[in-house]
Symmetry: C2
Subunit: 379 residues, 2 copies
């Protein structure tokens, strides 16, 4: 997938991943790009997240992005802070820009020092080009496929997004790295003002396992090389983020199905989001989806502990389009519905019957494979 004007990307295998797979991705911003940034709320946040926050306060525009996917460089003490800075310096040298204009990110195992010398040896081998594909592959950890999304606006400006996800995925945020690039010229202030709420509606509505990672971030970069704020830019940006969020959920560790939940009728948007997330994240409902079991009691129970206000007798629940609960149990064909659940996407629609607020959330089924992947990760 081609990047918008003003961006070039590349990748290499630096040897941080024992598998020898690509683990270092670089994006060069040919012009200083306006940017907006959100990152994990985890108190044990990694140096790259802390540095990103400082950078966000200090720099209106950036010149590049470097990601290593072999090591989270988290819980690595003062050395971790120095190694993260070194990563920025190495990328800045390569891109011939100031280190203070390069955003860093790391993902992978926690608590092991980042072998940044490997980056020093291999970064020269990165070949920058007009596509994002090699970068998308290089930032994967246990992801099974690359996550890309694009939108083209009237007038020709484009929005291109890339993400990685997989395990330790939960709101605010996950080991989720998501970057969106655009050549539309968006005022930096507006980008910064609108990005957090957009992230709340999209990336922060993805849950794979309830664990919020130490290293996540979502950022948008605007080179501004095409026309000023084209029509439908915000819709395109949100569509890109939403599409990436869905891809991340669908490729959750061990997942075989995407669970998409849409809640309407909540008293406010925060409650709508919470209700949708509770259903998408319920271990019991996730296991039921895995077994094609239309066990709506688990949906109702998840709504009940979500913190959203509702009256159970005003609630309607649809599963794959079929009404299965309407203020109480309603008859449905369990065999047919179980068959309908044998799909790549299982859709839950909830009307809380209260107010007018709406939200979506995305998760995945809970499988034996998830347990296998996570029972033996470092050993």
């Amino acid at each position: 997938m081609y990047l918008p004007r003003g961006f070039m990307a590349g990748a290499t295998a630096s040897g941080i991943k024992p598998s020898g797979k690509p683990d270092l991705g670089l994006v060069s911003f040919l012009e200083p790009a306006a940017w907006a940034f959100t990152a994990t709320t985890n108190l044990a946040a990694a140096p790259c997240v802390l540095r990103g926050r400082n950078l966000y306060a200090a720099a209106d525009r950036l010149r590049g992005l470097v990601v290593n996917s072999g090591n989270a460089n988290c819980a690595t003490g003062e050395q971790g802070v120095r190694d993260d800075l070194r990563l920025a310096e190495l990328a800045a040298d390569f891109l011939k820009v100031d280190p203070g204009s390069v955003l860093t990110a790391s993902t992978g195992v926690i608590g092991v020092p980042l072998p940044v010398d490997k980056v020093a040896q291999k970064i020269g081998g990165v070949e920058l080009g007009a596509t994002i594909d090699a970068f998308a592959e290089a930032i994967m950890t246990t992801d099974t496929r690359v996550k890309l999304s694009e939108q083209t606006l009237p007038g020709g400006a484009r929005v291109v997004g890339v993400a990685k996800g997989s395990g330790m995925i939960h709101p605010n945020m996950a080991t989720m790295l998501a970057y969106v690039f655009t050549d539309a010229s968006i005022p930096a202030g507006e980008l910064r003002e609108r990005w957090p709420a957009l992230v709340d509606r999209t990336f922060n509505q993805v849950t794979v396992d309830g664990d919020t990672s130490t290293n996540d971030m979502a950022a948008v970069f605007s080179s501004g090389l095409t026309e000023a704020e084209p029509a439908h830019f915000w819709e395109a940006l949100e569509a890109t983020a939403r599409d990436l969020a869905r891809q991340i959920a669908a490729d959750g560790e061990g997942a075989e199905k995407l669970i998409s939940v849409r809640v309407v009728g909540a008293f406010d948007e925060a409650e709508a989001r919470r209700a949708a997330r509770a259903v998408a994240g319920s271990s019991l409902w996730k296991a039921a989806v895995h077994g094609n079991d239309p066990n709506w009691g688990r949906i109702l129970a998840a709504l009940g502990y979500s913190g959203a206000r509702f009256e159970p007798d005003r609630v309607e629940i649809r599963l794959q389009g079929t009404v299965i609960y309407k203020g109480g149990a309603v008859p449905f064909n369990g065999v047919a519905l179980s068959q309908a659940m044998q799909a790549a996407e299982v859709e839950v629609d909830v009307d809380l019957g209260g107010g007018n607020s709406v939200a979506e959330a995305w998760g995945c089924d809970l499988t034996e494979e998830y347990v296998k992947i996570n029972a033996e990760y470092t050993t």
Copy 2:
């Protein structure tokens, strides 16, 4: 296990469970018993929970308890409310007491009407005796073993607890039914005043899968047939509740190991509890425990999103007694520690290095078996 003076219990198979296993348990309070009660915060709470709350407001003393473990009688509409009242009436008839003095509880599948006529046919077959064992067995659902605990106080008063747990177990509360009986004479007001905090430190610190059930309750009943408030009564009551909480966690669905987490050095007790629960409930850490993987990064990450305040460089983490993190990674023998994790109980000790508050929490490892059990429950 013998009940304290003033209580008799029994059980039968009413046929609500398709397996034909015992599913109806009764406890008769020979004298009106002072009681204290907490129940699920789930908004989709079952009729028995709503009735229990009303009873708690209306009745200082109770005469009996009836539990059916074949059907949750939840999300069953007005019929469910009537069926729950009928369950109380049937038990009251059998015990020759007023229906308004009998607490009801149900656990099992959600959304299916309770076949209360089966109870009517079979309740006459219950034989009340001095032991709690048949009752303990009759309230089990996917539990693999009965959960009982007792303490004897100086002077001879006793505290006897019984619980069921297994899936859908998470704070505030779980499909957890827990009842503690004592013949110690405790003022009703004091019992009601102290019970909620005691439940917060014990039953509400158990997490199996993050799903809070619609039907849970924990109650204590005092017949008052022995001396007035003996020494150490509250310690004995808490020890009983704590022991049952541990048993519930250890027998979580699919669990092979108990995970016990002790947090010290928190700024307040609520944060200590939250931190301990986050570690005990982290899917990633639970999977790591299953694989005997001393992956402390997952412990640190869970602390980081728990909501408890701390400085990562002041934190110390011990696993099975071995220091594995002290303000940063410390060297340890991974092979030896992995072997030490091959135990029925895996202990995590965390010092947040902040204040003086302390809490415990209990969970279990996440296994392929959990997924199997929950992928096919109703179908």
